[in-house]
């Protein structure tokens, strides 16, 4: 093999990254790359691109919920049933339900740690800190009050809306929760809470009678692996 052939071209780098080359080819190519800066640089670009591919894998795109028009009639029936059920529930339990304690099975979002939501040198609004603290203590009334009044921007604002939405849901205000959850940019959520946010959206939609949409999201969650983000 000539020296020119020995260098790793882009096609061969792709074979290596995809682990398609047999052991003999792989060992030869990698031992060459370990000594050839140009080939090593090229291989690194391909490995790096494979991480881009993983991050943008269409699990996020292709598990799009089904069209809302598909289940329109089912949605209407479910909506009527949900409305009737809501009337019964409201009649029987209101106002005791407003501040009821969350059930032990409530799934809580991981609380953001201090300093992770703002840029270096910036300070977080004390009301936001208090709101997250209240959420961590499961003090829903305080969390609602503080997160609702807090001022934030960028990632902190996204977090504020998400946690406030959960609080609103737990306080039986799905309409407010849904508005907050619909305002989120789901492409911008950290992976740690991305799917939780979609679960909350499904809960809020269901509570608001949009059962078909909620079902669709729940199916997308059930069908996709835990690491796959879902774009509602």
């Amino acid at each position: 093999m000539s020296e020119r052939e020995h260098h790793l071209g882009d096609a061969r780098c792709a074979d290596l990254v995809l682990d398609l080359a047999g052991d003999a080819y792989r060992d030869r190519d990698l031992s060459h790359a370990a000594q050839c800066a140009a080939c090593a640089s090229r291989l690194r670009a391909h490995v790096s691109a494979s991480f881009h591919a993983r991050a943008h894998q269409p699990g996020a795109v292709l598990v799009l919920p089904e069209s809302r028009t598909v289940g329109t009639w089912r949605g209407l029936v479910a909506c009527l049933l949900a409305t009737a059920a809501a009337v019964v529930v409201a009649t029987v339990f209101w106002p005791r339900a407003l501040d009821r304690a969350p059930t032990p099975a409530t799934h809580w979002l991981a609380t953001p740690s201090e300093g992770t939501l703002v840029r270096a040198g910036e300070t977080m609004d004390p009301r936001l800190v208090a709101g997250f603290g209240a959420y961590a203590r499961r003090d829903l009334a305080a969390a609602d009050r503080e997160l609702g009044a807090a001022r934030a921007s960028d990632g902190a604002e996204v977090a504020r809306r998400l946690y406030l939405a959960h609080v609103k849901l737990l306080r039986n205000d799905p309409q407010a929760a849904l508005a907050l959850l619909r305002s989120l940019d789901y492409t911008d959520l950290p992976a740690a809470v991305s799917r939780d946010a979609v679960r909350l959206l499904a809960q809020a939609l269901r509570a608001e009678g949009e059962v078909a949409s909620a079902d669709s999201l729940d199916r997308a969650l059930a069908r996709s692996p835990e690491w796959a983000p879902i774009l509602p």
Binding site: R4, E5, H7, G9, D10, A11, R12, C13, A14, D15, V17, L18, L20, L30, H32, A33, A34, Q35, C36, A37, A38, A40, S41, R42, L43, R44, A45, H46, V47, S48, A49, S50, F51, H52, A53, R54, A55, H56, Q57, P58, G59, V61, L62, P112, G115, T116, L117, V118, R119, A120, G155, P190, A191, A192, V193, S194, R223, P225, W227, A228
Partner: protein, 242 residues
């Protein structure tokens, strides 16, 4: 389908079976089949894009990755909708088709930016320039000192916490954007930046204690790291400490 090296890249031989597997998959089998075809198409398109990039227009690595993602998704959807098939085509023809798709993506980008560059007179000039860039292959003495350096380096990398190691791998070794690393690891962008900087400092200090100076990561070191560790450990959302 015959796929002998060096006639066609191996990935070109895998695309037809991957499309077939996706079309035959039912229910929960579809996700892994889709993921496999996506992985193949993305890597193949990225290779085709890189091989042609300099001939069409000046582009960044991010441009190439974005075009690869866009075109891979288009082809994936077309394959899934039975609008694109490679049935009856040889691997070389499949590779040539993907090269055309890649070139079209580059031309579209150049047009959008309104600064299309004329191709060089010698079509192989860019490829040769890339191949021959950087220092030549190392001599045995350099290799010996590299191995000693690498041994120390591995120890220092191992001393990082798992979370810091993943951040360092993604931000420094692979040069992934902070936002993407943050998404993959379940961290905020600010957190990633701080952790990457601290990891750099910790590695520099650790290597200094072993008598080595670290001035950036030599790409050859990357190859050793990549071949001697499990790339799966470079990512993932489990960020606890060991």
């Amino acid at each position: 389908m015959k796929c002998e090296r060096p006639a066609a890249p191996l990935w070109a031989c895998r695309i037809a079976p991957a499309i077939q597997a996706l079309l035959c998959a039912r229910g929960a089998e579809r996700d892994p089949a889709r993921a496999e075809l996506w992985r193949l198409l993305h890597a193949a398109l990225y290779a085709s894009l890189r091989a042609q990039a300099g001939r069409v227009a000046p582009v960044s690595r991010e441009d190439l990755e974005d075009i690869a993602s866009t075109k891979a998704l288009e082809l994936l959807l077309q394959a899934e909708g039975k609008l694109w098939s490679v049935e009856g085509y040889s691997p070389l023809e499949v590779a040539a088709f993907l090269a055309r798709v890649a070139r079209n993506g580059l031309v579209d980008l150049a047009r959008r930016r309104g600064r299309e560059a004329p191709p060089p007179e010698d079509a192989d000039a860019w490829e040769r320039a890339v191949t021959e860039a950087g220092p030549a292959e190392s001599d045995p003495l350099e290799r010996a000192s590299t191995e000693e350096f690498f041994s120390a380096f591995k120890e220092c990398v191992a001393a990082l916490t798992p979370r810091a190691r993943k951040v360092w791998m993604q931000r420094v070794v692979l040069d992934r954007p902070s936002r993407e690393a943050a998404g993959a690891l379940g961290l905020t962008v600010a957190n990633v930046d701080v952790m990457a900087q601290r990891a750099r400092e910790a590695l520099t200090a650790c290597m200094a204690a072993k008598g080595h100076r670290v001035a950036g990561l030599d790409p050859r070191m990357f190859v050793l790291l990549w071949t001697q560790s499990d790339p799966a450990s470079w990512t993932g959302a489990e960020t606890g400490t060991e």
